[in-house]
């Protein structure tokens, strides 16, 4: 009995029962009429349930299929097709996929780890001042969300702070910027945003025992601004996570990997940035004829002598920084940055006076 099969001609959905004849080509016939001739070398396997045999032909209609009801007959025909197993469409082997994927992944990671810092170093100084100011304004919004909008507005203290900051800014060679603000938060911290605006938190003013100590902290923050550290970090972190999230799509794990790598990026480079900022701060203070040692003492007092070693710590150990400051100690040759009265006024900027809220918030309260 000549083998039979089901034939779909790929032009209509009609199912035809055909008989097969193995000649120069595979001949498909129904009721004596030859419907198609499939050259042996053009026949390929098509998807089917496991064990079933389904064939297609490269020269024929794209979706034409031959399906065998009798598996033995199907396999017999298959044996005569030299190239049935070739699947040009899925030609890439798994090994190649794995190899090229790993290569692509590693080069993207290398680009993010090495390339982004380089790009950030090159690009940050090129960013125009106006753009930098915009970024600073954006961060300002976020900072007030985190630390609260309450500022300390004691008039004499503000004047003293302005004077101190003005001297340091001039020595550091920075362009003019909005006046410094003191936020009524008990955390002992200070930061300077891209654009040069300085924020001091009440906590650090409370801890300071001399104007030199505060000057050191402010000089350190100015050093960050001069080195464009904030911008560089933005470009580096932003660029790195942009690259990683783009290429890896949102496959499970990439999001978290991004976070983790960001934390590491942030930590590793921050330490270099911090050390460089310390060096510049020392330079600025010595330029004003003051010793940097008090700054180290303030740091140790504020952070305690902790021994955090883990990769995730962002600042170098305070004891190391104290040692650096002590090593850079010089005799005091310049005038006091603030006199006793001015320093007392600064210390009292939050405490003795009333805690005023920023104008917008006050207006909100009135209107609300």
């Amino acid at each position: 009995m000549t083998p039979s099969a089901l034939y779909f001609d790929g032009l209509t959905s009609q199912r035809r029962e055909v008989t097969l004849k193995a000649a120069e080509t595979l001949e498909l016939a129904q009721d004596g009429e030859i419907l198609a001739r499939w050259p042996w070398r053009e026949i390929r396997r098509a998807d089917a349930a496991p064990g079933r045999v389904r064939l297609r032909c490269r020269g024929a209609a794209e979706l034409a299929r031959l399906e065998f009801c009798d598996d033995a007959a199907g396999r017999a025909i298959l044996r005569r097709c030299a190239k049935a197993g070739d699947d040009e469409d899925s030609a890439i082997s798994t090994a190649k996929i794995v190899g090229w994927s790993m290569a692509a992944g590693l080069s993207i990671l290398a680009l993010a780890w090495f390339g982004m810092p380089l790009a950030a170093d090159r690009l940050a100084p090129l960013v125009p001042q106006s753009w930098e100011n915009r970024v600073g304004e954006m961060v300002e919004q976020q900072a007030s969300t985190v630390f609260g909008k309450k500022t300390c507005e004691g008039a004499e203290g503000a004047a003293a702070l302005d004077k101190l900051v003005g001297k340091l800014r001039a020595q550091a060679g920075l362009p003019p910027a909005p006046p410094p603000q003191v936020l009524a938060s008990s955390a002992p911290n200070a930061f300077a945003l891209p654009g040069g605006r300085v924020y001091l938190l009440r906590g650090i003013i409370d801890e300071a025992q001399s104007p030199d100590e505060l000057a050191g902290v402010i000089a350190h923050e100015f050093a960050h601004v001069r080195h464009c550290d904030g911008l560089r970090r933005l470009i580096r972190d932003g660029g790195g996570s942009y690259l990683v999230s783009l290429l890896f799509g949102d496959i499970t794990g990439a999001g978290a990997a991004v976070f983790a790598t960001r934390a590491l990026f942030g930590a590793a480079y921050s330490r270099e940035d911090e050390t460089a900022a310390d060096a510049t701060a020392i330079e600025v203070l010595r330029g004003l004829g003051r010793s940097p040692a008090p700054m180290g003492q303030l740091l140790v007092r504020v952070t305690g002598n902790d021994e955090r070693l883990s990769l995730l710590a962002s600042h170098p150990m305070s004891s190391d920084r104290l040692a650096t400051m002590e090593a850079a100690r010089v005799a005091t040759t310049g005038p006091d940055l603030l006199d006793a009265g001015e320093f007392q006024a600064l210390k009292a900027i939050c405490g003795a006076g009333k805690l005023e809220q920023k104008p917008e918030k006050a207006a909100e309260k009135k209107g609300g």
Partner: protein, 429 residues
Amino acid sequence: MTDVRLLLRNLSGGDRTPQALAFADRAGAFSRLAVHGALLELVTFGFYRFWLNTDVRRHLWAHTTVGGDALEYTGRARELLIGFLMALAILAPVYFAYFLLGVEAERAKTFGSTPLVLVFFLFGQFAVYRARRYRLTRTSWRGVRFWMTGAGLDYMWRAALWSLLVWLTLGFAYPWRAAALERYKMSRTFYGDLQGDFGAKADDLFKKVWWIWLVIAALAIAAPVAIGYGAGSLIAVAKAWPAAQPLSQHGGAIGRLALQGGAGALIPLLTVLLLVALYARFKTIEWRWWASGLRLGPIGVASKLQQPQYFALLVKYGLALTPFALAAAGLIAYGLGHDASLQKLLTSEKQPGLAPTSSALPILVAGYVLFLLALNVLNRIFLQHHFWRLIVSTLAITGGAAADHVAQRDEAAGALGEGLADGLDVAGF
């Protein structure tokens, strides 16, 4: 000749009555595919997903028979990869512009950039339409292809406006959204020269499901409360347990503690199960309604899906996932507890008895990766394979005789939609 035909029918292994749909594959074949694929995805930073998704679809399609003839998925991984690269070329500048706009928005007001997320929602709807077209045009049955007309952008605007309405009506407009969008999609869907349509009415769906929505909303508020109560009870029991020893003296107290602990564990569990059951009911009703509305020319579809079947599937999925979730949570807790830097952060002095390692980061990562792999594999097995099998076994075709004489039309579409959907992580059929 008739005898031979009968013989052929019996040998073919599939039910050749025009109405029958069946899904039959070897036990474990799909699971092997899923596990193998998940491991390769991990090793290739996720790039293997194009090949895995293609293999999954080829498996599911090829083992599904309609009237005895199997479906065939003619798409290839290469197309998905190219679609992804095209989407990348489009999305890369979009993400960058989004970032710049975000900076400007944040300047004006903190978190002012959140509305920009809507842009990606729009993109997602466009991608859903185009991805559906790609998959349909790669599906063939009896040598004839499915295909779609219509523009992705048109669908995108419709979907966005309907979604806005649903949001404004707190979800009650959902049936009308579903009906309108399905009608749009189905009237532009073809099998050969048979045009599709969608005949089900939104009112029917609304009448059956509105009460479920109310109950789910109430439960969604109650569930966190219940879970909070449960956690609180368990912690209280744990604290009081040492004081209640020995058993002989404090029998009554032990009994009370046991009851409290039992309630603490049981109440949130029951709440969650109830939520899942209601969700299953809703989805089952929606699915039956959707199937009843499908048309391809004179061909119609009916679904006999029952809520217990779908609920059982979801519960089994949850049960399968639980051991992995617990194991991962255990690893992560161990890692957190032993990380030296975290310890210093959280406590001012060292905990006696715990030996800190320099960094427990590898353990944390291992826990996380384990959970994600398990989630990936179990998602495919339960929510793709078992779900597909369940649906196919409960579907029936009516008027299938018309399927015998359909003529081939149109070409295959490009894979840009799939690429965008992949780049935006959007799913959809």
